[in-house]
Symmetry: C2
Subunit: 194 residues, 2 copies
């Protein structure tokens, strides 16, 4: 009897290994075949699951987005309001080697999304999800009386989104000023002002 | 007598026209020859001045960085402290069509810089320049007694840098939440807290 292979499971398995190769070498630096073999798969292992490097990159982006969400869910368990928001932001910021590697997937994905409406839409959906998540935390903080500044929640959300996305670039390309501790200090200084 | 052509002047002339083609179509979307012809130059016009698309992109990035600096210089003339800082930030944020087009040069440049040390160094130098500029404005604001929050200048600088770089991405890829007026509101809300 032939082994039944779950297509989605195999696809995820391939992404779980190949995303690090792409992050390290750059999406332009290797062919699909090279990415496959460097990740320890057979030459043609990726082709049946990803029609192009573009598709592989989109899957890699969604994978690191999901990894981030698993982390934020763990870290925010039992927290609410500003404490939950701070924990959420700390998990999105590129504060360790794993997450700096994730930023190296996010940046080429953004670049491709500039001229690829499907990727742009995927990105927008992901950002909407984070926007709503942060709004819930801010609403809790309001309920708790923890925000004293005359600023709207949505302005705080926008500010944090751009700050955290900018940090993806800065941690990789301006590490002298964006070490993990420097990032945390700058973010906490902002949250402290609220 | 043969016409003397100033190499640097011609190079700048080529960049001044081609950067918009690259911004609109994406750096991967066209060959050097296509970029040249779409910008109204002869087929082989770019090759003697740029060895590769990578070099052209680096020159385009430096050109839009210089354009930004020309704008900030004009806008901050006669201003100091927080007013100068606000004017500076408003010129760096992608608040109009021209600057959203500029962001479409900046993002592919970041992507290339991930695996190109020369571009990464160029980026670091440019960020250092802005860091020092913002520190001068903040020092003036301190001298004027305009900053009341217990936060260090360098933390404000880092926070603004990541916010403004993140806004380059958001204005292009998340325009529903990052219209020009939304960007200005979010930034002014932050500066207002200081």
């Amino acid at each position: 009897m032939p082994k039944v292979v779950d297509h989605d499971a195999r696809r995820l398995e391939l992404v779980k290994v190949t995303w690090r190769v792409i992050a390290r070498e750059g999406i332009d630096g290797a062919t699909m075949r090279e990415i496959a073999t460097r990740a320890g798969f057979a030459n043609g292992a990726l082709k049946p699951y990803f029609a192009s490097k573009d598709q592989l990159l989109a899957a890699a982006f969604q994978h690191v987005f999901n990894l981030t969400n698993e982390r934020t869910e763990r870290r925010t368990t039992g927290l609410r309001g500003l404490e939950a928001l701070r924990a959420f932001c700390h998990e999105v910021l590129p504060l360790d080697e794993q997450r700096i590697l994730e930023a190296r997937i996010v940046i080429p994905f953004w670049q491709k999304a500039l001229t690829d409406p499907e990727k742009a839409q995927q990105h927008e959906q992901d950002m909407n999800q984070w926007r709503e998540q942060m709004r819930r935390y801010l609403q809790q903080a309001r309920d708790d009386g923890d925000i004293t500044q005359p600023v709207e929640d949505i302005q705080i959300v926008r500010h944090l989104l751009s700050t955290m996305m900018g940090a993806q670039i800065m941690a990789v390309l301006y590490p002298a000023e964006f070490s993990p501790s420097q990032q945390v200090e700058a973010l906490d200084a902002y949250l402290g002002m609220l």
